[in-house]
């Protein structure tokens, strides 16, 4: 009976009050924020009425500018105006040198693996730049929803590897957002369409959906199955270096050839040709032919000619579609819905070819620029608890295989691509020298055989292995991927009973201390701001913990806890409540920690009881069957 008295009015937030949640599409070129209001998901506009925020950040002596203003200044102030920063997320300096020539920035010398760009207001890294974009969108969300956000779903390309996902999550943390989930962009698009479609009452049948996402620089294909509100990603594939920019390049090359300009063109000419190419491509959506001229050359580009130029590129995307279908054990005829995402799917020829390949007309009724943010908003609304649980569940997959380096520089895959997450896989390795006491573990991601061709995610050493003869040690390496697609790795020597364990973060990720330091930097040494923010964060954490505990106790506290346990928990909760109202951030944190530890057995019992219930429900179903 004490249960009902735990919640004292005014001390914890009302559990059923509507939460403020947004979906954010953090794009290479443009970003958006969307939310669900009165049952409809919509992109939120800025004061000027525009929903799109160009993903451009400009650093000046007097401050930071994000969006259209920054983009307009890109030409005049190229070194301090950072565009397409998403391409640098989760990348090391070496990766960037790879395509560095296209970027005008001054890169500072290596700072712990992450590249830093010199600007007038100091060196900044891609995570910080992305955080500036997120801050603007978060503020827009908070203004529009009338208060601090409870959480956000942020979308990432399906092909993003672990380091890129981690960097995105770090940027959100730096922007002060609580990330409910990282969601793959194509999955978000499917959600935006999928829920629409169930409104006609046709949700009884399973449906197979293909999401064809062609952006400026990347192509993504995902095959999903929708069944009673469960979106199951069956497979995903694509090409991280193929997009509308390549269309422009193909057309520009054609112009150069027609105009007899040769192949050795300076950057200025190239830029002009690309702009002309892009304009012609867009004009052909409405016209049969467009007239073009460059210097003393003039000619015309027809739809037919454009198709001829683009077809080899589009065919590449269709091959990726075929591979994804095969990974899902399906063929094109099995696909019942095709969804188009990304600005480059506005090109007519792309629509024709996609329609031809799947044998059905693709959906494009939701603005391809907004569809991802809208899907993310729908998912955020569910995760934050505004919707009933039956509504929607997304089962996503890992896009690239995760492996470990073995002898001879070869990759051994522990988790294969397109495995549904969360997932945990363990494998045993052994020592190859007598008396070996340490083992180097190199975590890689990719499909290739050679480690050198895969992406290196992390290296660490397991030390303290008791000396044994070669081959006697049993080192169990476990890879665990959570629902965001983020990896943690554990290694343990178990044969001797001695256990050593380590959990790693990716090479280009940030340590928590880095994030704290960057937060401090961003407050420009305003001590009280930092303290205020830390206190507020601790209080939010306390509220969340208390609320979760209250709900848990109401659900089955009486059934699963003895009176002594119950009163202990209540005391700990009371202590936390008091700390929440009067204590410092540190005090609150240690109370949260104490309550979490104390409630561990209760959490385990709750899980066991759910499992039992789920099993029982099933057995009863079975009896009903003839």
């Amino acid at each position: 009976m004490a249960l009902l008295q735990i919640s004292e009015p005014g001390q914890t937030p009302e559990p059923h009050q509507r939460k403020r949640a947004v979906g954010i599409d953090l794009g290479t070129t443009n970003s958006l924020v969307a939310t669900v209001r009165s049952g409809t998901a919509e992109a939120l506009p800025a004061e000027d009425g525009k929903a799109i925020l160009p993903s451009v950040v400009r650093y000046t002596d007097s401050g930071i500018e994000v969006g259209y203003g920054a983009r307009a200044a890109a030409g005049d102030d190229p070194y301090n105006t950072l565009v397409s920063i998403k391409r640098l997320m989760g990348r090391g300096l070496a990766d960037i040198k790879h395509f560095g020539e296209q970027l005008p920035y001054h890169f500072a010398e290596d700072t712990g693996g992450m590249p830093a760009i010199e600007t007038v207001s100091g060196a900044v890294n891609p995570v910080q730049v992305s955080a500036e974009i997120l801050k603007v969108l978060a503020q827009r969300g908070a203004d529009s929803l009338g208060g601090e956000l409870d959480g956000a779903v942020i979308t990432v390309p399906a092909y993003f590897d672990d380091a890129q996902r981690q960097a995105t999550k770090d940027a959100a943390k730096l922007a002060g957002l609580k990330v409910l989930r990282l969601l793959n962009e194509p999955t978000a698009a499917a959600v935006a369409y999928g829920l629409d479609k169930t409104e006609d009452g046709a949700d009884s049948a399973d449906k197979t959906i293909a999401v064809y996402d062609l952006g400026g620089g990347t192509f993504d294909i995902s095959i999903l199955r929708l069944s009673k509100g469960v979106f199951e990603v069956l497979s995903t594939g694509g090409d991280s270096a193929l997009g509308g920019d390549d269309f422009d390049r193909a057309v520009a090359e054609w112009i150069a050839a027609e105009a007899g300009l040769g192949t050795d063109l300076d950057a200025g000419t190239q830029r002009k040709l690309l702009d002309a190419a892009c304009a012609a491509k867009e004009a052909l959506a409405a016209e049969e032919t467009v007239a073009m001229s460059y210097l003393d050359w003039s000619g015309s580009l027809s739809r037919e000619k454009l198709a001829e130029l683009l077809d080899p590129l589009i065919s590449k995307t269709l091959r990726a579609c075929k591979r994804a279908l095969r990974d899902a054990d399906l063929s094109a005829e099995n696909v019942e819905e095709v969804v188009l995402v990304g600005g480059s799917t506005r090109t007519l020829r792309v629509r024709e070819k996609v329609e031809g390949f799947f044998g059905r007309k693709p959906h494009a009724d939701i603005d391809p620029d907004k569809v991802v943010a809208i899907g993310a908003a729908i998912q955020a609304d569910v995760l934050v608890g505004n919707k009933s649980r039956e509504d929607l569940l997304l089962l996503d997959v890992i896009p690239l295989s995760l492996g470990i380096e073995t002898m001879g520089g070869l990759t051994e895959k522990l988790i294969h691509r397109n495995t549904t997450i969360p997932v945990a896989k363990a494998q045993e390795f052994t020592t190859f020298k007598d008396g070996q006491t340490a083992m180097a573990i190199h975590v890689v991601q990719g499909e290739r055989e050679l480690v050198a061709d895969c992406r290196s995610l992390a290296r660490f050493e397991l030390r303290g292995i008791p000396p044994m003869v070669a081959g006697a040690a049993h080192i169990r390496v476990t890879y665990q991927v959570d629902a965001d697609g983020l990896l943690s790795v554990t290694a343990m020597e178990k044969s001797s009973g001695v256990q050593a364990e380590i959990t790693v973060k990716p090479s280009y990720g940030l340590e928590d201390t880095d994030i704290t330091r960057m937060l401090q930097d961003s407050y420009a040494n305003a001590e009280e701001d930092i303290a205020a923010r830390a206190l507020r964060e601790a209080q939010v954490e306390a509220e969340r913990t208390l609320e979760a505990m209250l709900v848990a106790l109401q659900e089955n506290g009486a059934e699963l806890l003895s009176e002594a346990e119950l009163s202990e928990l209540e005391q700990a909760m009371q202590g936390l409540r008091q700390a929440h109202n009067e204590g410092t951030a540190d005090e609150i944190r240690s109370r949260v920690e104490a309550l979490n530890t104390l409630s561990e057995p209760f959490a385990a019992r709750r899980m066991d009881s759910s499992i039992k219930r789920a099993m029982q429900g099933h057995s009863l179903d079975e009896f009903d069957k003839p």
């Binding site: 409910l180 569940l393 549904t420 896989k425 629902a483 848990a552 709750r606």
Partner: protein
């Protein structure tokens, strides 16, 4: 949570699996235990949910796949096998070699697609026969025979993958 993969889905332990029941039950369980369902719960419960959801996924992947399912059934009976063991059945090996030779020569055939289709159908029939052999061996608790059938299933699965890859190459 000490359940075997079949118990998780409430399915009878055996080689024949009702794929539709598995898929349905899989979605029901994920509806219940996916970490998204615990987004508002305590950290500890989120962690437990992630672990259990991972276990459900692992079980589903094993039971869905005919080769992995066979290996798992042997494992439940105490037979631990190395990743890919070879078979001692000479006649089977000879047959495999001939199939592979035909696969290599598909490109030169007068109608490569028809030839590939024929190969694919043969491989599928052989696979089915070995599935039956495995199922029978398991029912009779003839574990050695079961291991032998599993090795052959692995061979044939690999052949089928190669056929698919060639199919993709040919279509391009």
């Amino acid at each position: 949570m000490q359940q075997n993969h079949f118990e998780i889905f409430g399915l009878p332990v055996g080689y024949q699996v009702d794929r539709q029941a598995l898929a349905k039950r899989y979605r029901e369980l994920q509806q219940e235990f996916h970490p998204d369902r615990f987004a508002a719960k305590s950290d500890r419960e989120q962690m437990l949910a992630m672990q259990y959801a991972a276990q459900i996924n692992e079980a589903n992947n094993t039971l869905k796949d005919p080769v992995a399912r066979a290996a798992y059934l042997l494992q439940l009976r105490g037979v631990e096998r190395k990743a890919e063991q070879t078979t001692a059945d000479g006649a089977f090996l000879m047959q495999q070699m001939m199939l592979r030779e035909r696969l290599e020569e598909v490109r030169e055939a007068s109608d490569p697609e028809a030839e590939l289709e024929e190969l694919s159908a043969e491989a599928a029939a052989l696979f089915k026969a070995q599935e039956q052999a495995f199922s029978d061996a398991l029912a009779a608790n003839a574990l050695k025979d079961g291991e032998s059938a599993l090795s052959k299933l692995q061979f044939l699965a690999k052949l089928q993958r190669q056929i698919e890859e060639l199919e993709e190459d040919l279509l391009d």
